[in-house]
Amino acid sequence: MRLRVLTAVALLATVTPVCVRAQVSSARTDNAILIEDATLLTVTHGNIEHGSILIRDGKIAAVGADLKAPEGATVIDAKGQYVMPGIIDCHSHIAVDGSVNEGSVSVSSMANIADVLNPDDMSIYDDLAGGVTTANILHGSANAIGGQTVVIKLRWGKQASDLPFQGALPGIKFALGENPKRSNFTPPPGVAPRYPATRLGVEETIREAFIQAREYKKQWADYNEKKGTGEQNLLPPRRDEKLEPLVEVLDGKRYIHSHCYRADEILMLIRVANEFGFKIRTFQHVLEGYKVADEIAASGAGGSTFSDWWAYKMEAFDAIPYNAALMTERGVVVSINSDDAEEARHLNQEAAKSIKYGGLSANDALKLITLNPAIQLGIDSRVGSIDVGKDADLAIFNRDPLSVYAVVQKTLIDGQVYFDRQRDIDGRPALEKEKQDLLAKEKKASEEKKASKKTEAKPEKKPDQKKKRAPTNQDSAAGSAGVAP
C-alpha cells in the first residue's frame, strides 16, 4: 500500500556539506526478499557463515545456510557482509517537535512525547545510517516524574502516526539526582525556585505523586462501582492528565524508565516502588549500577547505560566503563544507549567497548544493543535477534559490526530498505542540483522584486541632502571590523 511518498531530505554532514535526499520507497511489498551469502549474527543462536535470510511480509520467514530465492523474490547480495538485528536504542531524544523537557513542574506526566513526534527530523535518517531501527523516545530529565514516552521504529519518510512501535507498552520518564533537584536552580527575581532542591525532595515528590495517583484511582473505582449499581445523580471525578499515566504505572500498563546516577538514589527508587507496588522497567544511565547490581537484578529492572562516559558532573564521578559488563555478570539485563542523535550512529562501536572493558563475549556485546534493549522495552518477541517470525529489522554492515571499520550498507525495517548507502551516494548529485536550482530560482525572484521596487520607488533623496558628519572612532572601528560603510 502506498501511503505517502514524502520527499525525504537527508543531511549527511560527515560525508558532504550539502543537503542530500534519499528517496524512500514506501511501497510495502508482499514479494519475498532474500538476503544472500552473508555472515549472520543472529544473537540468539550463534553466527551463520554464508547464511541467508528470507523475508516475507516484513517478517523473517527463514534463516539458514542454504536458502533458495523463491520466484519473484528480490535478492540482496550480501556476499562478504555481516547482517545483525537492527540496533535498538533504549534512550533517545530524536524525532521530537519542540523541547523534550516540560521542565516547569516537578511532575510533568501530562506531557506526552507521542503528541509531538516529528517524522521529518533528520536524525531519524542519520541514525538509520548507523543501523538503528528502533528507539525509545524519552522525555528529558528535568523533573522527578517526567513526561510519557514512546517506542518508535525509524520509518523515515512516513508520517508521525506510522512511527510508534505497535504493541510496545508506553513508558514514562523519571529522573533522580542532580537534574530534577537542580533544574530551575537560579530563577529570576520574583520567581520562586522549583521544589525539590534535594534528593530527599525528589523522593518525596515521587511518593506524593503516587499517593495522589492511588487516591485518584480509588475515586474512579468508587464512581464506576456506584454507576455500575445503577445509582443516579453521581458527580463524576475530574479526569487528571497528570495522574492517569501514574495509575497506568500502578496497573502495570506503563513502563518506568528512570534516569539515575548514584547507588543511593537507585536503592531509593527500588524502595519506593516496593512500597507502592509498581515496577521499574529500566534504570537509565545508572552509572553506579555496578555498586548495586544485585539489588537492581533482584528488583527485575534493566540497566541502560553509557559505554564510557564519566566525570562530566559530580554525580558521574564514580562511573566506570566496566559498568555494563559488571551489571551483566550480576544478572542485570543491560543495554548501551546513546542519549544523543550522533552517538546513536555508532552504537555498534559503543557496544564493542564492553569487550575491552569487562571482557564480554562478542555475542554478549551485541546483545547490549539488540536483544537486551528489546527485553527492556518488552518487544523481544518481535525484534532483537535474527529469528524466524520476528520483524525483518536488520542492519547490513560491510564488516563485523564490532569493528571500528564497519560501515552500514543497508538498514531494513519490516523488510523494507529504509537506508541504502549506495542509493544515498548515487542520489546526491540530483539532490544537489535540485537544491541549487531552487536557490537560483529564489535569487532570481528576489532580484526581480528589487528591480520592480526600484522602478516604482519615488526619486531618492539627493546625496547632498544627507546629513554630513565628521568621521568618528566608531566609524573606523566598524571599518576595521569589516563592516561595509
Partner: protein, 476 residues
Amino acid sequence: MENRFKFLHLSVLCTGLCVAMLIRSSYAARGAGGEPRYFAVVNARVVTGTGTVIDRGTVVVAKGLIQAVGANITVPPEAWVIDGKGLTVYPGLIDAGTDLGLPKEEGAESSATGRGRRRAAPSGEIAKGPEDRPGTSPWRVAADELKTDDKRIESWRNAGFTTALTIPDGGIFPGQATVIDLAGDRSGDYVVKAIATLPISLKPTGGFWGFPDSLMGSIAYVRQVFDDSNWFAQADSVYQANVTKFERLPYDRTERAIARGLRDSEIVLLPANNAVQILRGLKLADEWKINAVLFGGQQGYEVAGAIAAKKIPVLVSLKWPEREKDADPGAEQTLRELKFRDRAPASPAALAKAGVKFAFYSGGLSGPKDIFKNAKKAIDAGLTADLAVRAFTVDAAAILGVDDRMGSIAPGKIANLTVTDGDLFNEKTKVKHVFVDGRWFEIHEEAPAEEPGDGKKDDGPGPLAKRKASSAEVAR
C-alpha cells in the same frame, strides 16, 4: 472622466436635494456610510460567488441588505444609481484571520516569543500547572475590545475587504474571535458574529519557569482544559439538580466559556502550518471531538488528501514563507526548507484538488496590497481564479459559519460588495467602490486615508460630503 462613475439620477432636482441633504444632514457627520442607503449598481459584471457570473447585471442594495441581483432588475426609483460599466461587482472580501481592531498590547510579546526567553522571567504570574490556567482567557471576546480607530481597518476596506475575522492575541486560549464588518459608527455596528471561533495557540507560554514550557506541555494543557470543560458540563447538570446533596462546584470561567463553546459546536481554530502540524491537528481534532478548522495550511500540498478525508476546512495564511530577512547568508539551508518556500503557494491548488474547503487570511501581512499579490502567487501555482475569489468570499463565510448572511451576492445577504475595474487578482486592477453593510465607500486612488466612522466631527462637511461633492461634479 468617461471612466469615472456617474450618477444617472432621475432628476437634477432630486440630485441637488440629496447632495444638499447629505452635506447638511446629521448622517453626513456619522461617517462615510451611504444614507440614504438605497443603491443600485447597474450594467456591471457581477460575480455572485455562488458560481454564476452575470455579464451585465444589476445589484440593488437597501438598508444594509442586498435586495435584488440579476440581469433584468427594475431599479427602484429611490435608488442612487452607480454606472457599473466596465466594473466588476464581487461579494465583499473576507480576510479570515487578522487582528484588525485589536492593536497589540504593550509587552504582549514577552511571554510567548522572543529568543532570550529562557533566561527571562515571563511577565505576569508563573503558572505551576494546568490548574493555574496559563495564557487562558476564553471568556474574552474580541467584539468587546474593538478599537475602531485602528487605521488598518480603513486600509483593508479601501483594498476591498468588507469583513474580517479578528482574533485576540496572547496565550494558549487568547479569547473568542469575532467576525466584523469593516465600517460602522460605533464598535457594536462592526460586529457580525461576536463569538465566532475559539482560537488556540500551542506556543508554550511558560518561558522556562512556568507551565507549559514545551509544545507537548501546551498540548497536554489544552487536553486538560477540554477534559475540565467537559467535566464541568456534566457535573454542573448533576449539581444543579441536587444542590443540597453536593458541595458547590468551584467557579472557573475557563471551564464555563469552553463548555459553552463545546455545547454550541463552536469552531475551534487549531494552528497547523507544516505537514507534521497538520496531521497532528487532524488527530487532536478527532481526539478532542471539536469542530476544528486548521489555520496555516501552507504545507497542505503534502497532506491534502488526509485533510480532505477528515472534512476539516483550512484557513490558508497568505504570508508565504520567506527566508528571514536578517538570515546569515552563509547559513546552510536544507532542501526541505527551500522546497517549502518554493511550493507553499501551491498549497491552495492542492487543497482544492483534494476537495478541501479553504479560505485565505492575511496572517500578519502588514498591508492589504500584499494579500492580492500573494493570492496571485497561488493562482500562478495552479489555483483557479474562481476558487481564489471563493476563498475570499463564499468559502470564507462558510468556514466561519456566516454564509447564511454573507459571502455571496444574493437577496437577503448583507450588502457587502467590492466593486473593481477589473479582475481582482490583476495587478493593475483598482478597487472603485466598497459597500459595507450597505454603506457606500468610493475609493479614490491614492487618496490619503480618511478617518472611518468618525462620529465626533460634526462641524463642517465630513469626508463623505467632500466625496459627494466631487461625485456631483462628475455627474454634472
